[in-house]
Chain length 217, copies 2
Amino acid sequence: MARSGAKRGVGSAVSSGSEETRRALVAGAIEALCEEGFSGASAREIARRAGCNQGLVFYHFGSVANLLLAALDEVSRIRLTRYQSAVAAVGSLGNLVEIAESIFKEDLDAGYISVLAEMIAGTSSTPGLGVEVAARIAPWRDFAAAAVRDTLADSPLAQLLAPEEVAHAVVALYLGLEMLAHLDGDRSPALALFDRAGQIAGLLSALGGVSTTREKP
Amino acid sequence: MARSGAKRGVGSAVSSGSEETRRALVAGAIEALCEEGFSGASAREIARRAGCNQGLVFYHFGSVANLLLAALDEVSRIRLTRYQSAVAAVGSLGNLVEIAESIFKEDLDAGYISVLAEMIAGTSSTPGLGVEVAARIAPWRDFAAAAVRDTLADSPLAQLLAPEEVAHAVVALYLGLEMLAHLDGDRSPALALFDRAGQIAGLLSALGGVSTTREKP
DNA sequence: GTCTATACTTGGATAGAC
DNA sequence: GTCTATCCAAGTATAGAC
């Protein structure tokens, strides 16, 4: 995937025409995946959205699949950064639910999880795509596992639940809720679940015996 | 979607060449959706698997999308029948988890949920497909809601959880777990969750105060 | 580095022979 | 009812001009 053109310094703020085109194509790919799905995200459709020529997809990324993977990379980067800053602000269990809900709304409205879901669904049709997508999903699961581990720390629930298992379930639920919301064009059933989770979190803290605040390291 | 040929009696056991072809095409469509995904389920690919000519897709179903919907109908029919017989055999909460696990394995191994996931993902690329798929998913959610309602009856949890909400979460989790299992080619994380749920069910019944057996009507 | 033009392939869909 | 042949649109990918 090495570029053929002359290299500039790493981290250079100046964007050449090449970098601009690459960015536009990645943005177009994200858009196309969200709005047209995996099978609608063709080189022509993406280039149309990026406002450039179809041939540039192959010049810059070699194939449509590679561009789609670059789009997934970009979405991963954006979201993991956001998640990181969000969990840093978490104080209590009820607080965690509130923050998780606002994050979920962002993901849903911006279509970030759509990109994930479409890419996973698309792996069936392109040989070799599966392992690449799996490698890019792994950080999401790792992040969720770390967050669950922190939240369960010092809680009696920690004896009952393994963080990796809960993280797997959380990612799966996140994916599934997005697909149903996208299908129905209605996110309210998903949001109702967050409200319910908030109620239960409140109940747990009222009952006592369960740690509902997290240590600040 | 009316057929042009002469009609035989409803429920006729004799299969004409026409019915045989239709069945083969539906079976081929299910196979193609599982193995090649939505974008790989073309008329030619499906016809190849059905062992018949590509033109027959359009003769019998009018379009590829209609055939794919017929495939989804068939999967729905098969699974809902199976679910119905399964919940009838449920005695206790721990028993429910065991049965749910075996059902999940069946769904996963036969690729039934793949069909669901691929069709949902595919709705983005075909205008008008969304409402059709949504209408075919509704029975799954209704079934899950009824099962949850029965299971929660006479339990204190019934005050805390709305059946429709839990059902939505269950369907979403089911979908998400399938997608991750399919992606990784590894269903063990999903099965571990069932084991954990079984443990918790056992714990609940040991604690008492929660009804773990269901009335047999 | 970018764009136009083009070769090639696959897919949706129809017409007409059998 | 099925098959062959065919049309047309869309997609991937490359070559070569600018």
